[in-house]
Symmetry: none
Subunit: 215 residues, 4 copies
DNA sequence: GATGAATGAGGATTCATTCAT
DNA sequence: GATGAATGAATCCTCATTCAT
């Protein structure tokens, strides 16, 4: 593994653990047993490290979503997608715990983030539309858009929100799965009878996951 | 106006403008044309200023909610309450833009924040229950709880979320009203026919507000 | 009791408790429930407070010693004098715990201190000479001077020395009496047989005092 | 010479010159023409510098004393040892000029200091015992212990004591030798006739040293 | 690729002291 | 006599970043 990648991994780890503002470049270097100079050989500055971490995140995010292949198995596709989105958010949770601050410092990053958000929105729309086409959901265009917005908001805010709800809370995978459940609970009242069955199946799946994480 | 209050106001202003981590005690003092020593005469440290700002916020928040008086005019009560909650969040938006960081530094504040969150939750429950009692909403206990959780999440996250959605965006009152609309759009699909009428009225009210802000 | 005196007393108390450098003028004022401005109405600055405390000490010290009246009862005079000297040192112990620093800041105080030291030296000489005249001590002029120097050194250093010998030790009266014993143990080997009896009596007296303090 | 060592040397110099509380880390850095950041690159804080200085002192002190090798040449061993002890105290005199304050701030240092004091005590005992064994001294166990205590007190207090005895006095080597003479004058009256001869020889040696320093 | 010493502006905070009331 | 808000220079320390080797 290249030093450059090791820096990214170490930074990610430390940022998640202690919060980005509390992790200095010296911490990262010390954690890896390399010199600060070496770190700055690989990255122009701290910002660039964050940038790279975000790029990795965006790449990971894109890979997870192949709507075409999954148009038929709609419920499962949602499941897979939600899983992926939330897991990635967990992996890069430091970012979500400080979004406004991090973005305000770096216009370029702000741009990239918005792009990812748009992608998230369009992915959600694709999924919701395929739900509708399969007769699991019965909403007009406006209602669909509104739902998608809510889901995007919940997804994007979940980590930050949870971080503030418990004193010194470590965000575990269980917390992530609860986020998925929260989203499903928003979708459920809007589904057809057929859709409700599917959603309940999904909910029970994630309930199990939460249980597993706790024990 | 006492110096102590002027410090609180200046700090709030500057925090909102530039983000709490980017505003030093010296900035605040300079902004007011007072000496750093004087600032520290009135406050033990920066943390205490934030504490005081939060206390002011919590006090304001409590004052806004008098459920008893409003049990009959349910829709209007929701309107008034949402207005107040979002306006206060706007007034203290720096706080919401950095919640995880600010709370993680200060256990006492974390405690106070959770208390405010619980109050928010119970207020939402009171409102939703009065909606249900008035036949505007038809949900079982679980669904109601789930809805309340979603609304609380949206309310608590809106400012932070919006801060991240626009490059260098100043959060205006219009953005706030859009948050109310977002919440109403979550409630609407769950209302009875009678309820839907009320909600649409509210939505149109807030649409007007948003328009007014833009122009 | 006048405010001025209350300030002196409070300062003395706090200095002894926490060390002069760790006690601010604000501490003193707060301790008395008066304003810092008031403190500075009575004293030009912190130094002046220390000055006044020293003056009080010097005055107390002078009062204790009336050699003429006690020339006959030599052993008892020594006892009384040692008692007084050490008790005063205890009462003003903060001073002895920081002598070099305090004196270096204030030439005037340095002068006064040296005067007190000279007085101490001459008092010791008077006592030793009366011992010699009474046949309790058999030393030539040089040896006597040497002894006096040693005793002066021990007396002047005891508080400071003891402060450094125990972690976080509060200097109690028992510690003070041990200082007297230490001085007697220096005198004893130089006494005549008759003198030895007297010194042993004194030692047993102070041993009792130490015991009393411990229990 | 490494920067780290230069910092220690500069700190020691400045502390000795102006007193530790009056020398800031910025003074030290400026004195060396380095940045404050650089100083803090080498030392976590001011306390650590003092710690390191003390460690150097303790190391130096240990090295000086090899009792076994010198059991026979007792008088000369005392001479050598006293020389070393006092010279080191001179070299690190800032420390002795502020002992109570410095130790009260730092428990770890207090511990180390007490250890050094114990070592000093046991070294003095070894020397006194070898004197006794050689017939230079004729004291019972108690008297010996008492003497050792006095000598330890005088040695430990000498620098501080002298600092207070002269206005703005620079502590010179002559002052140090006077300390040795003071100790010898305490030992002399307790020696056998044979011992007295030896002590007088030593005294004359140190008298010469004092003369040399003055001129 | 890598080292690690060095920078220096800037941060929070303290405290003896002043002064208008 | 007394108040207490105000001063401001000074203190210790941090950290992103640079650069000679």
């Amino acid at each position: 593994m290249k030093t450059r990648d090791k820096i990214i991994q170490a930074a990610l780890e430390l940022f998640n653990e202690s919060g980005e503002p509390n992790v200095t470049t010296n911490h990262i270097a010390a954690h890896l047993g390399i010199s600060p100079g070496n770190l700055y050989y690989h990255f122009r500055n701290k910002e660039e490290i964050i940038h790279c971490i975000f790029d990795e995140y965006a790449r990971d995010l894109s890979i997870r979503f192949q709507p075409q292949a999954e148009f038929d198995a709609t419920a499962e596709s949602l499941l897979g997608y939600l899983d992926a989105v939330f897991m990635l958010m967990w992996r890069y949770r430091f970012f979500y715990a400080n979004l406004p601050d991090i973005l305000s410092r770096d216009e370029e990053l702000q741009r990239k983030y918005l792009q990812a958000q748009e992608e998230l929105h369009s992915n959600i729309m694709v999924l919701m539309n395929s739900f509708k086409d399969s007769g699991l959901l019965d909403l007009d265009e406006n209602e669909l858009l509104s739902l998608a917005n809510t889901l995007k908001l919940v997804a994007s805010s979940w980590i930050c929100y949870q971080t503030t709800q418990a004193p010194g809370a470590k965000i575990t995978k269980g917390v992530i799965y609860q986020g998925v459940l929260q989203m499903l609970s928003i979708v459920r009242p809007l589904t057809t009878n057929e859709g409700k069955v599917r959603v309940l199946q999904l909910e029970s799946h994630y309930c199990d996951q939460v249980q597993r994480d706790i024990s």
